[in-house]
Symmetry: C2
Subunit: 114 residues, 2 copies
């Protein structure tokens, strides 16, 4: 079975600009950035979307948000602010079916969020 593109990044089979890595997650730059800082935070375990995450993995979901916060702080965004976005399914424009949290900052974000 073909690995998903993010699983290939996890296995270092495809290059990515990696920002941080821990036992549960990997963070790397979005290849099509929509803001001066645009980073994806993904779990190492493959789940295609929020729909597929077991409820027992609540703390993994929280971990992705705490990682995003850490990276935002490292990138100097704590004072200016930042937006986290999680797309699920077609209407949201989810492009890769390995759950990934977007961290966007470094510019003023408009409303509505897409």
């Amino acid at each position: 079975m073909e690995l998903c593109i993010f699983c290939k990044i996890l296995k270092k089979e495809i290059p990515a600009k990696i920002i941080s890595e821990d036992e549960l997650s990997l963070s790397f730059e979005d290849i099509n950035p929509q803001a001066p800082v645009h980073i994806l935070i993904i779990p190492k375990k493959h789940y295609s979307s929020l729909i597929d995450i077991p409820e027992e993995e609540k703390s993994l979901l929280g971990h992705l948000m705490i990682k995003a916060r850490e990276i935002a702080k490292e990138k100097g965004l704590e004072k200016t602010g930042y937006r986290l976005v999680l797309n699920t399914g077609k209407d949201a424009g989810q492009a890769v079916f390995h759950i990934h949290l977007h961290l966007l900052g470094g510019r003023e974000m408009s409303w509505p969020p897409g």
Copy 2:
């Protein structure tokens, strides 16, 4: 000390169109909806933003996402898709300083997300 507007909603001092409530969270309609479904999911405990949440509350953060998923399912968005958004600070346009997760769906969302 004046309660924040979301704490007032939690205490039912201000009306809101409540969607669901459990021991940890309250979900209600955004008063200025940006999509056919636009619901806010907040923790009952007051935290002004993601920056103020202790790391031990990871599972609370995950709980907000799981609640959003449950509501999305109830609203029939599981097949069409939906976007979750968490704004932190000025650049993201955070308007109320009680952390709240936006659930948006029922229309195609564009990219970038604001």
